[in-house]
Symmetry: C2
Subunit: 422 residues, 2 copies
């Protein structure tokens, strides 16, 4: 560290924060990337770790490794307790960290809309810990169903509910539906048809941020795979034996997965600035109004572009990371900053094996071609040669042998109490 | 399942139980393999998962996968509550399982010699869950040391104590010593020399089951790697800041690993038969005295051979698994059983990278040749092509890039409370 250099503190090693750190590689600054975990999480493929197609080390990449060769950057492990915008330091559980520039990029967390108790019965594939818990519950449910004789309990264990029909819910439901054959291949008593997957979605069509024809294709693909769609239905209650819907119906299931909402982290909500739905309203250069040395980017920030909010997707987060790095460099060069401009590269969602939908401007694609594009784009953005090799190996191994990367679970017996005899 | 066939129930999917199940492949019986976890654990390489060289899926192999093609075998998940030797059934948390032949092979668990509270401050790399906890503690300690400024806390976090100088303790200490360079490679503040490893061993020489010259070589290799040996010393106290020894000295360390003893599981100790040090004393054909239809094998059984107890190693467990399968077949053919004969194939221990000691009869080897033999033998006995490919890939990748398979940890922040401010 060079004491005379401006200190850039980045909070959060997701797509936004990590891209900002890397984009400052040649800037005359010292970069500190602060995160409470020691890895960058490749969230777009996290659902594949939840269905045991990939290992957790495929989607979680060491921050130290990623920044190992960047001499002006260091990684600091810690959790932010508070930010002092006036005196310019951040308080963490390990002490105070002063800054000249601060980039806040703490992302989002699952939004249970006031029913936070649902988190324990319906985990959300948003963090790595919750994803591993989902994998544990999915595999444990199937293992117990294979071992249990009581037909009612067996039935409960083989029903799955996915709440939310956005990209994560659709991708998870599709992956789980296509995982049934492989997961039951070695279980003589359980056929793939015994496993039933429900998807509950509050709106009338899936993937509401996509065009209508894409929504229809996604619904058709899920139904072809046997997923039972409950569109225009809200969940009113979740417990360890299933979920109740707002039409009074009841779905019985030992496993419920939540993908119905994301909200900014508590840090974003606590900042003394204007918020909109919990997100921090930023200036056109992504800085906090009145604090040009502080930026908020990624899922925690509300950024306007052509009158619409920029969506909470990884390309937008990466573009914002690069934009603030540029703004810091221009500020140091005493040049004026430029407003952030979002370049919409389109959206994609994988639906089961070898099928995806994609929308790039006016181009709408679906099928195996969209899936191939999905695979290439995701491999391109995945960090690290090792992870790319491992992901391709796991995909190919699955294709040729139907053996999953991680069908094992530790501490099998906890869920018995969680789900069990309900 | 064929109702008229004799039902063989095997409890435990370790080396002994799994080998018995596979050896019964062509026997006219139905085999049920009962385990509380859904994987076979390759214990001889577990310590490499603890030091992040291998992933947990490299050393834990799905029991369903291993037995997928064996038509007369099924896997049942469940935990044994009791065994009724007279009425011939086993009670599990999922119900009762009757048997005609019963093979008990529940292995061992860490022995804290009456101080079971030490388990939380000094986990033992014996189960997968404890191994992952050890990996989490090792990596978290280094991460926190890199992030913390207080010199005393930093020092505490960089000290490690391994209790026990048998093969597991020696292998773990050697692997950790050789992991220091790679683990700190991406941490600018921490040099490999900052990390200190203590090995405490009650006896006067390491690896007491090996010959004396091997013990000396192992000690020299560990000392060459910077491991500080405390031979002839017993641990009298362990807490979250270190361990006290019986000479009144105190070793300060945030991380303590226990490898000092193994005892049979509670199931073995509860059986109404003669025990020796908790192990079940069996007849020459490995059956329980008075119960020729019940066998006890592996680490839970005390088997005599040439007046000495057969050691608790995986080759012995596998030989016993094959022997009871043969005895069951002979019984069904109304032929007399043969007494078990142990064939000592020798012993090996890896000490750090590219070094091992081996003792095969009168042949004593050490160095890279012994290490190459160690690697080939372990790859040969590892189940599954996928795991072999993955292990070789991880070893090669580590060799060429010094990047470890699994340097990430979830829920980083628990240990702060466990170790922390002492």
């Amino acid at each position: 560290m060079h004491p005379a250099r401006p200190q850039v503190l980045i909070v959060g090693g997701g797509f936004a924060g990590l891209t900002a750190a890397r984009a400052l590689k040649r800037a005359p600054v010292d970069v500190t990337l602060l995160d409470r975990e020691n890895y960058h999480l490749f969230q777009p493929m996290l659902y594949q770790a939840a269905t045991a197609e990939l290992s957790e080390t495929d989607v979680a990449i060491s921050l130290h490794e990623i920044l190992a060769r960047q001499r002006n950057a260091r990684v600091l492990l810690g959790e932010v307790a508070s930010v002092d915008l006036d005196r310019r330091f951040v308080t963490t559980d390990l002490g105070e960290v002063p800054y000249d520039f601060l980039i806040l990029a703490t992302g989002g967390e699952p939004n249970y809309f006031g029913r936070d108790v649902w988190e324990s019965v319906a985990p959300s594939p948003k963090s790595l810990a919750a994803t591993l818990e989902i994998r544990r519950r999915v595999i444990t449910a199937l293992e117990l169903a294979e071992s249990i004789d009581d037909p009612a309990e067996r039935c409960l264990l083989l029903e799955f509910i996915v709440v939310g029909g956005g990209p994560t819910g659709v991708e998870f439901a599709g992956a789980l539906a296509d995982a049934r054959g492989g997961l039951t291949r070695t279980m003589p008593r359980t056929e793939r048809e015994h496993i039933r997957i429900h998807l509950v979605h509050a709106q009338s069509r899936l993937l509401p941020t996509f065009a209508e024809d894409i929504s229809k294709k996604a619904a058709a693909q899920l139904e072809r795979r046997g997923v039972i769609l409950h569109l225009g239905r809200r969940v009113t209650e979740i417990d360890s034996t299933g979920a109740s819907l707002d039409d009074g119906s009841r779905l019985e299931a030992a496993t419920v997965i939540w993908t119905a909402g994301v909200r900014p982290t508590p840090l974003a909500r606590a900042l003394p600035v204007e918020h909109s739905h919990g997100r921090v309203v930023v200036a056109p250069d992504l800085s906090l109004p009145g604090h040009p040395e502080v930026f908020a980017i990624g899922d925690m920030a509300l950024v306007e572009h052509d009158g619409h909010p920029v969506p909470g997707v990884s390309p937008a987060a990466m573009q914002q990371g690069r934009a603030v790095a540029r703004s810091i460099e221009r500020t140091l060069q005493k040049r004026p900053r430029e407003p952030f401009r979002y370049w919409d590269k389109g959206s994609m969602a994988q639906i089961g094996h070898y099928h995806a939908v994609a929308q790039i401007g006016r181009l709408h694609l679906s099928g195996i071609l969209a899936w191939a594009m999905w695979g290439l784009v995701h491999l391109y953005y995945l960090s690290g040669l090792r992870n790319r090799i491992s992901v391709v190996f796991n995909w190919l191994w699955l294709f040729f042998t139907r053996q999953r990367a991680t069908p094992i679970v530790t501490s099998m017996h906890h869920p018995l109490e969680v789900h069990g005899k309900g």
